[in-house]
Symmetry: C2
Amino acid sequence: MAVYTQVSDEALAAFLTEYDLGAALSFKGIAEGVENSNYYLETEKGRFILTLFEKRVSAEDLPYFVALKQHLAARGYPCPSPIAARDGKALRTLEGRPALIVSFVDGLSPRRPNVTQCRELGAGLARMHLALADFAMERANSLGPAAWPRLWTGREADADALQPGLAEAIAGDLAAIAAAKPAALNLPRGTIHADLFPDNAFFLGDTFSGAIDFYFACTDALAYDLAICLNAWAFEDGGRDSIDYNFSKGAALIAGYESVRPLEAAEREALPVLARGAALRFFLTRLVDWSSTPEGALVKPKNPLEYAGRLAFHRKVETAEGYGA
Amino acid sequence: MAVYTQVSDEALAAFLTEYDLGAALSFKGIAEGVENSNYYLETEKGRFILTLFEKRVSAEDLPYFVALKQHLAARGYPCPSPIAARDGKALRTLEGRPALIVSFVDGLSPRRPNVTQCRELGAGLARMHLALADFAMERANSLGPAAWPRLWTGREADADALQPGLAEAIAGDLAAIAAAKPAALNLPRGTIHADLFPDNAFFLGDTFSGAIDFYFACTDALAYDLAICLNAWAFEDGGRDSIDYNFSKGAALIAGYESVRPLEAAEREALPVLARGAALRFFLTRLVDWSSTPEGALVKPKNPLEYAGRLAFHRKVETAEGYGA
């Protein structure tokens, strides 16, 4: 939520001469996206978002992300569409950073998604999976189960400091998921968003109007994407550190998804372990950020306990019906 | 450059029902303005900026700032125009903060203003002074000479830590300005912007397209506003801690101002002491921010030495000709 790289008006004017977008009419840094610098850019041809990629996004991955959005946009899926310069290339350089102009997507991110929005989001996720069915490029999930032991090692004390007994519970989650061998479950795979949280989804009223921020997208089990969304959309802060699963929202999200792409039997069966794995992935990356952020820093990292609460719920769920599927 | 208060989509939707602006189509926090939370807001009726006023802006002053912008906008001066709700009131409450929707002003802030832009800015400042000539409300300059001894007391060691000998030089500036009694110089007074730095001015190409961020506006000598702009627009970082006055830019700024509102003889005569006072005001407030910001904070305060460098220049200037007037 910050602008890391400043762009001078002169550098922007020179940059825009490579495009057919006319001159800039407005240019404002926006608080969107955690990893990159994003600008609202208005030119004589319309409204756009200019992104400068900061170091946390790997430069080798950028062509994949650009091609993915081009693929979705070409199929009419509502997402930021990369704008090519006159030489046909969309991915360029500005102020020493990889830079990309994309189309502007209307809509607002819901802070507390309602049941209708969860249903819409589920359908929007499934439409994304179908639109990407013939997307040929692949990218490994760098935050999949293989990465979790490395994230976890040496953090046991940090976890117990957050909540006594948490380290043992997390070790149990890791063992349970390893035993379930989710990678060997032979689930339908494809291109997934892998980070479709409410702040990466736009709505006009209750209607899904687009998805943004594809910088965790990768090739993985499609149902894992649904499991991520269940974690991101269907839990609520119950106060006093309690995290509650909202059954109506979760059921609506799954029903929305299945209205476009029905789950296979193996996917339904795997849903609890996938949901537990998704919660573990976000718990672990949040724990790493939490432990490595100095006290008193202005940007407060997100609390890992929100995902410890989700994990506590997932441990008790045995079937997809437990999520309302 | 931050968003301090979050606005939920539900709170925004409820807020907008009080206006004739239709529903929100887009809503993004923007990195503009240091003191307040600002959002890009697009509705069915167009583009706007929504500002939530944080604690550093005094709530009693807000009606003055709103009336000032209404006055300017009514005279066709390019600035954010307050949008009234259906009950006729523009200043409202959102998420527990005073809130204001204003019209969107096209243009870009120059990072390194050129000579043409300096001339345009001078003319734009003078047009603002003329448009405000019949603005009846008054507000004392809370950062005028009377406030400086309070800002300075106890900071001598901080100043010398920045640059050996600086404390003595600053004490000399305070004494020289007090001796000149700028308040008693009987200069034409009126409503001034008092903070028209390049990031508060918009241009389309080299044409001035508007001024924003009137939250230091007050009643003071008109020529003091020009002196502030000379400090903000006509100096350049010469490297190795040297700050150079760009005579061409300064002369253009003054000429642009005088093309709309010629300076009176007393104003020309006072220009050196006004410029020195303006530099001292920004040096002192930056020194306070510098001393009171903990080391390692993410938001780095601006370096007071940039204004110590300006003060060193102003000490040697004896007449307005020294600035190119």
